[in-house]
């Protein structure tokens, strides 16, 4: 029903912006690198960015960058990872569907062990139905959104325990 070609949105997002999968330190490093670019382009003395529950501060000092990254408290949708688990957040604005069509079984349930690339849900945006696949293996601990409800960018959809894979 939903060929691989229906996922251009998702692919573009993934290619461009790794930071949307939280907890992954490499992505954070990439984000810091891109912020350093901003710092250099703009000639700023200092730059602080708070996103995804982390405050990053960069300070220019005699041509030396100091980089500080620290988690911050936040009440936004992209809240910090839950204890014993990692949150999987929505990469887009759209409608969240747990199954491929009404009456069909859900892609995942609490307790389902998923492999990398396994479909977790459908995210519908502009009448395009995008399969959303797992980027890490693990066990689904919680499903955080009701079926057929609207989700925004960065909103936590699932809680997954990577150690449970």
């Amino acid at each position: 029903l939903f060929g691989e070609d229906t996922l251009p949105l998702l692919e573009r997002l993934r290619g461009r912006h790794n930071a949307i999968t939280p907890g992954a330190t490499n992505e954070e490093d990439d984000r810091i690198r891109s912020l350093v670019e901003v710092l250099e382009e703009t000639g700023l003395g200092e730059l602080t960015v708070e996103e995804n529950g982390t405050r990053i501060t960069l300070r220019q000092q005699s041509q030396v960058q100091q980089v500080v990254a620290a988690p911050i408290a936040t009440d936004a949708p992209e809240a910090a990872a839950a204890p014993n688990g990692t949150q999987i957040t929505s990469p887009m604005v759209g409608t969240f569907y747990r199954c491929a069509a009404p009456g069909e079984p859900a892609f995942v349930e609490v307790g389902t062990t998923v492999a990398v690339g396994q479909v977790l849900c459908i995210l519908e945006a502009m009448k395009l139905f995008n399969e959303f696949k797992a980027e890490t293996a693990g066990t689904i601990k919680k499903i955080l959104v009701e079926d057929a409800s609207a989700v925004e960018y960065g909103q936590p959809l699932f809680e997954i325990d990577p150690s449970g894979a």
Partner: protein
């Protein structure tokens, strides 16, 4: 009447649109990147949807995310504001496909006016005066030389797809044409993915004066008066005022008639601005038409006593153009307050605003999205507030501006306030005898531009 409107923008213009929606009883849905989570427009809207990470290309410029946000929140319309996707036919078309009302003119008009060469052809046909120059795109440096000879030097080479000064060259004589063309063309290719160039006579000691229109979509509408926008720095407007201290009444009347002709030719719908280059001798030439709300729209709102953003929403909602008594009153000046450091080459100065105390009292309008503790993110435009002063006369407006800029307290980041304050008392500006070269000529004598 519209019911619920997605405001596809951020900053002061998102706040402005949300206020207009609220005053008309239209619900508003804000969108925001993760960098704008705590922004004023998010707080003031009835609802808000997070649409992406800080980079505009991944959030405010994403047609798919914006349309999806409108659909999932049951909006019936999208207001694009200015900048970002305000002149994106892609978004206009996506709106049509998903039964969303686009608050702006048709995709066709936007496309026509978006290509400067096509825009000029269209306006020439409508009877508007144009700067002598090439009839559309030039085939190459050879044609440029021929056309330049006809128009008379100096001439300007400009990118067909351009804007903001990129892909532009001033050429003083025949020997400079070839190099100028190739350099500008290369720059245009890099900046816009389109190397196309056109050429026109350079109007010396020129004024940039624009008129505000509000079209009914059927060829009629209102011409709401002019704005003098000649105080610019690197093609960015700093100060706009109305009435123009330079324009003769008779010229204004002719310019308004040109506006009527343009509305008719385009069957223009909603708010638009027709920009003219005006020479020392009051001759004027069509430059371009902006098919959207402008940053400086409050100047016209104040002088005309007319709410342009409400009018946009009403026109798009099928209510027609709200009536206007046709009178302008008093004198209005807008000052753009940017988070930039005028003492250090106007470099952007994003950061946290520790204290924000706008001036208040008579004749003061402040359009802003910042407040105490607000963060100006480094990812977007540096304009943080507009100060709009209204008074019975130009002199009274200038004195009020001086008072207001003196009162204005912004702590935490440097702003353009000191520069604006200095200009208010600068004799040439005070006398109203400035042209588009004002900052180049007078700038070096100003303390705030001394190091720039």
């Amino acid at each position: 009447m519209l019911r619920r409107c997605l405001v596809a923008n951020r900053g002061e213009i998102a706040v402005r649109i949300i206020r207009a929606c609220r005053e008309l009883g239209i619900e508003s849905v804000a969108v925001y990147s993760t960098a704008d989570k705590d922004a004023m427009h998010v707080r003031l809207a009835d609802r808000a949807v997070q649409i992406g990470p800080p980079a505009a290309a991944d959030s405010y410029l994403r047609v798919d995310q914006l349309v999806s946000a409108a659909l999932t929140t049951d909006c019936d319309s999208i207001h694009p504001g200015y900048g970002f996707l305000a002149e994106s036919t892609e978004l206009v078309k996506a709106c049509a496909e998903h039964d969303l009302v686009w608050i702006g003119p048709s995709a066709e008009v936007i496309e026509t006016m978006g290509d400067k060469a096509v825009a000029k052809d269209t306006m020439r046909n409508a009877g508007l005066p144009l700067v002598p120059g090439s009839a559309g795109r030039l085939s190459g440096p050879e044609e440029a030389a021929i056309v330049a000879e006809e128009a008379g030097y100096p001439v300007l080479l400009k990118a067909a797809a351009g804007g903001g000064g990129k892909g532009m060259r001033l050429v003083h004589g025949p020997d400079e044409v070839r190099d100028g063309f190739l350099a500008a063309s290369t720059e245009a290719e890099a900046a816009f993915g389109d190397a196309g160039m056109y050429l026109e006579k350079a109007v010396i000691n020129a004024h940039h004066i624009e008129i505000q229109v509000m079209g009914d979509g059927e060829g009629g509408g209102l011409i709401l008066g002019e704005r003098e926008c000649s105080i610019q720095r690197r093609h960015q407007k700093l100060i706009e005022e109305s009435p123009s201290p330079f324009l003769a009444d008779a010229t204004l009347e002719t310019m308004k008639a040109a506006g009527v002709a343009a509305l008719k030719a385009l069957k223009y719908s909603g708010a638009g601005t027709i920009e003219f280059l005006v020479g020392e001798d009051q001759s004027f030439y069509f430059m371009e038409m902006n098919t959207r709300l402008q940053v400086e729209h409050p100047v016209t709102e104040q002088v005309a006593g007319y709410d342009l953003v409400q009018a946009q929403l009403l026109v798009a909602g099928g209510e027609g153009v709200p009536p206007w008594d046709g009178e302008t009153r008093g004198h209005v000046i807008e000052f753009r307050i940017n988070a930039e450091d005028p003492m250090h080459g106007f470099r952007p100065a994003p950061g946290r605003i520790e204290k924000f105390r706008p001036p208040l009292g008579p004749g003061i309008r402040i359009d802003t999205f910042v407040e105490d503790g607000a963060t100006v993110p480094p990812f977007y435009d540096s304009m943080i507030a507009k100060l709009i002063v209204t008074a019975p006369t130009r002199e009274a407006a200038l004195n009020r501006a001086a008072r207001a800029l003196d009162e204005f307290v912004i702590e935490g980041i440097p702003t353009t306030i000191p520069l604006l304050r200095e200009i208010v008392d600068e004799p040439t500006f005070r006398a109203g005898r400035y042209t588009t070269t004002y900052i180049d000529e007078v700038g070096p004598s100003l303390v705030t531009l001394g190091e720039a």
